[in-house]
């Protein structure tokens, strides 16, 4: 055995700058769950590629350790800073996109967000969802159809939004009425829906923690453009989690969490007919069946 071969043999299992990925991943045991093994090997590969390409310094590594620690330590039952971090780095939207590839014509998904609450009241079509007397009233309406434009009956439309001050009811439990700006509507045979809410307003994500610091250092603002949340479930169709965004909002092209898609920008028309609502927003939702993907 010449010296080079001897050296190679002796170094099996020893970490070097060049073999770092292989050495770490070779350490996994033989009975690791295959999916876990695949995801972790992929993580190590890209994590090391990052450190290598950035030529990360020791000080930067220490800063990152401190940043991640602070991010974990600010989390509470009501605040999830790692979700904010994922959102503001575009990871949440990417994972959403990867898991919701739909054919052209189907309504696109966007991020779920942290403010949905299961169990909102089922209301009758045309009912109000806003009960704090604030904001500019808006009639929302449209149809739920399949890709061929046929109405979907029995679609369960779960809708939620912030109030005129930019807060969801769960953020102000002592101020807002329970289930303010929330409701569930179930379509009939015609697939139509309608309800009266308010024209939502843009608001900042919580920016008094590590993620807010990061945004400030990156020269980014923390605002989300005004949007209505929808989750639509119907038997035989893919679940749709999406928003509609208020046309003309100044943050449409700079959403702090990258949630906007062009097809989700909805018209908000001023109503000047002396009726009950100041605005009207029409939007049709197109559901895809489980096998309808791209």
């Amino acid at each position: 055995m010449n010296e080079d071969v001897a050296r190679t043999v002796a170094e099996i299992g020893y970490f070097t700058e060049d073999n770092s990925v292989e050495t770490v991943n070779a350490r996994m045991g033989p009975s690791v769950d295959p999916r876990l093994g695949k995801v972790m090997a992929c993580l190590v590969k890209h994590l090391h590629a990052f450190a290598r390409e950035a030529e990360l310094t020791q000080d930067e590594w220490e800063y990152a350790v401190g940043f991640l620690t602070r991010t974990g330590q600010i989390c509470t039952q009501e605040r999830q800073e790692f979700i904010l971090l994922s959102d503001t780095l575009g990871l949440s939207m990417l994972v959403d996109a990867i898991n919701n590839r739909r054919p052209k014509g189907a309504t696109e998904n966007t991020v779920f967000g942290p403010f949905h609450v299961e169990g909102a009241p089922v209301r009758a079509m045309g009912d109000a969802i806003s009960f704090d007397g604030k904001g500019e009233s808006c009639l929302f309406g449209g149809r739920v159809t399949d890709l061929k434009g046929r109405p979907v009956e029995g679609a369960r439309i779960d809708v939620w939004s912030d109030n005129a001050d930019g807060y969801y009811d769960v953020q102000q439990p002592d101020i807002q009425p329970k289930w303010n700006n929330r409701g569930v509507f179930i379509t009939g045979a015609d697939g139509h829906y309608s309800f009266v809410g308010i024209k939502p307003v843009s608001y900042p994500i919580p920016d008094d923690g590590p993620v807010g610091d990061m945004l400030a250092h990156l020269g980014r603002h923390p605002y989300r453009p005004a949007h209505m949340h929808y989750m639509i479930r119907a038997e035989g169709f893919q679940k749709l989690v999406t928003h509609t965004f208020v046309e003309g909002d100044p943050y449409l092209v700079s959403d702090a969490v990258f949630g906007v898609k062009r097809t989700l920008v909805a018209p908000f028309a001023r109503v000047d007919d002396g009726g009950e609502t100041m605005w009207r927003s029409d939007f049709d939702f197109v559901l895809a069946r489980p096998d309808e993907t791209r």
Copy 2:
């Protein structure tokens, strides 16, 4: 403007699965610190590449958010779980390698570890560092030289190790004497050093938290092979942070934090001459000057 061009123009700033990296990185402001901008752009690129290659599911993303949150929340003044995570994924060693590229012949770096304490007593050559009466005594000795074998005078050798039970003094402040198995030695004109400690023992990294869970799921043990820590500083030379590892240790090729390098495995010879120590370990340290890199 044809439809494709119009669509492209309209989508500037909107996130898609394909343009995710560019969209996120284009959001940075114009006056971002150049190094921060470079590191963050690189992070986003590799983070997205990971999610894309792994086709990360929504459930896996949620698990990761929970895992990172638990990792942050178990951290205290005495415990740094994110460092353990970095260590066990090989990231710490990679960053160490990137930042300490030395020419052949210079002693290699390895991870600093969390147990160094600044301010250990300066002792005379040949002095003891172990004061709890436990373990197998060992005489450590050798030389500190430059790459040409010339002795380095005034090198400050900071040494620390666990005790025979596998704990550092700072982990057992009520049990071990202060500065147990620690000391600082300063070389004279001949570059020699020597001190009496114990033959160190292998020990597990803390494995009762998220990182321990991860290791268990990956079929990995939490042990580090027995090692002595050294930090050697001398004017006109690169700082050397390293270990020597006990020859023959069963964990040499499976160190939980990947710290072992072949050149750092030191001989530990049994002494049968009726002297004061049971073992003897000789190891020469070779320092590189700041401009001596590869």
